[in-house]
Structures are given as C-alpha cells and as structure tokens.
Amino acid sequence: MKISELAEKMQLIPQSLPDPDREVEGFYAGDLLSWVMGRAQPDQAWFTIMSNVNVLAVATLVDLSAVILAEGVTLSEKDAESAREKGINVFTSDKSTYELCALAGELTR
C-alpha cells in the first residue's frame, strides 16, 4: 500500500511528505533507537514517540518508508524541514502507539 493511501485511512497528519508514493511493506514500533535500527526492515513504517533529529538518521539509515509519531508528538519545524530535505515521510497522530499498531494491523490484514 502507498504511504499516502495508508495515511488517509489511518487519518495521519503529514508533517513531511516528500515521497507520497512510497510503498509500505509492514510496520515496526519502538522508541529505543539502537533497538529499532537493529530490528526494523527497509520499507517498513515506524511508530514511535521519539521526535528528536536522531529519529531522522535512523529512518535514513534503515531506509524506512515513513516515521509515524504517536500520542500527538510532532517534529520541530527545523527537523520537519530537514526531513523534507532528506526525503523522509513523517506523520503525526493523536492515537497511541498501540492504537496505531492495531489499526495498521486491521488495514493490512
């Protein structure tokens, strides 16, 4: 599924959307960056409550299709700008990580 299509179905708010046609191949959830870097797979969308600039480095290094910030967390405008420059899709949602995972599971079943 394309990230833009998924975002619409999950009512995610885009903060940076340089690559709306990017395909999403599964999901990963976690907040410990090294853990995520060791386990997440390329093209997955990543649910996290972390919003510092290092999240963008992890998304780039693993080649994730999107970062989805839970619990109403947002990137600073400076980091959002950096995400756009680096070609990283970033969304935000008021839902919890659990709710987002459950919803994503339902939509991709």
Binding site: D31, A57, L61
Partner: protein, 141 residues
C-alpha cells in the same frame, strides 16, 4: 575502483544533533560507488552506533572509512575514558548512558552488540584514561 579510497570524518562531541552525519554521508558515497544495499546498510548502522557512542561517552573522535572492492573497513578512534570491562559493555542491555541520553532514545545497551552483529569482524583496543579505537570490517562478497 582498483585502489582503496579513504574517507575521514571528525565526530563533534558537543553536537548531539549532528551525530550520524558521517554515517549518512558514507551511506551516500557507497551507494554512488555501487555497493550492494545489504553492505551499505551494515556499514551505515555499525558506523552510526559508533558515532553515537563517541558522542555519548568520549566527547567525539574521528572516523575513517577505507573502501576497497573486497571490504569496507571502519576505524573509530576517540580520546575518551576507555572501556573498563569490554565483555560487560558487549552485553545486550548493558549501558552507562545518563538519563538525559536515554530520554533521546539512546542508552539501550545495544550499540556495541549492533556493531558486532552488523560487521564481519570487530576489534576493540581500549586503554583507561587514554581512549578507544574500534576497527570493524564488512566484507563485500
């Protein structure tokens, strides 16, 4: 690319937000050189973990990446406090990072284990009060 190419980076210990710049640049350079995606990912992750470690524990350092058709060698050198117990530091989940570092999402105790997992060889040369040099190799074939 018959001969080895070396890239040198200074890792700024003060600037947490720029940590990762060197690994992202190396990732880009390896991609331009046509290395396989798997090799690039392993190099970039191992190097990023090393960079973060140098920022957290050693007030920065240097990173040299030596690229040849057969392998990519990463040498990370710092003048930090050294690692008192390398075996303990290599254990998944063991970390001496502060709470403020943990609040940034680091300090999971996965840095060194990830570096080992993603490389074909890793050597740690550390002296208390002098510094640490980590040499990692990722084979291309």
């Amino acid at each position: 690319m018959a001969e080895a190419i070396t890239f040198h980076f200074d890792v700024d210990g003060e600037n947490f937000t720029s940590a990762g710049n060197a690994s992202v640049q190396v990732k880009r350079k390896l991609r331009h050189l046509g290395f396989p995606a798997d090799v690039i990912k392993r190099v970039a992750i191992a190097m990023y973990e090393g960079e973060i470690n140098m920022v957290i524990h050693a007030d920065g350092g240097s990173a040299d990446v030596i690229v040849s058709p057969e392998e990519v060698k990463i040498v990370l050198a710092d003048r930090g406090p050294g690692i008192p117990d390398v075996a303990l530091a290599m254990k998944e989940g063991y970390s001496t990072a502060s709470d403020s570092i943990r609040s940034l999402g680091f300090g999971a105790g996965m840095g060194l284990p990830n570096m080992k997992r993603y490389t074909d060889s890793m050597e740690i040369d550390t002296k208390l009060g002098v510094g640490t040099t980590i040499t990692m190799t990722v084979k291309v074939a």
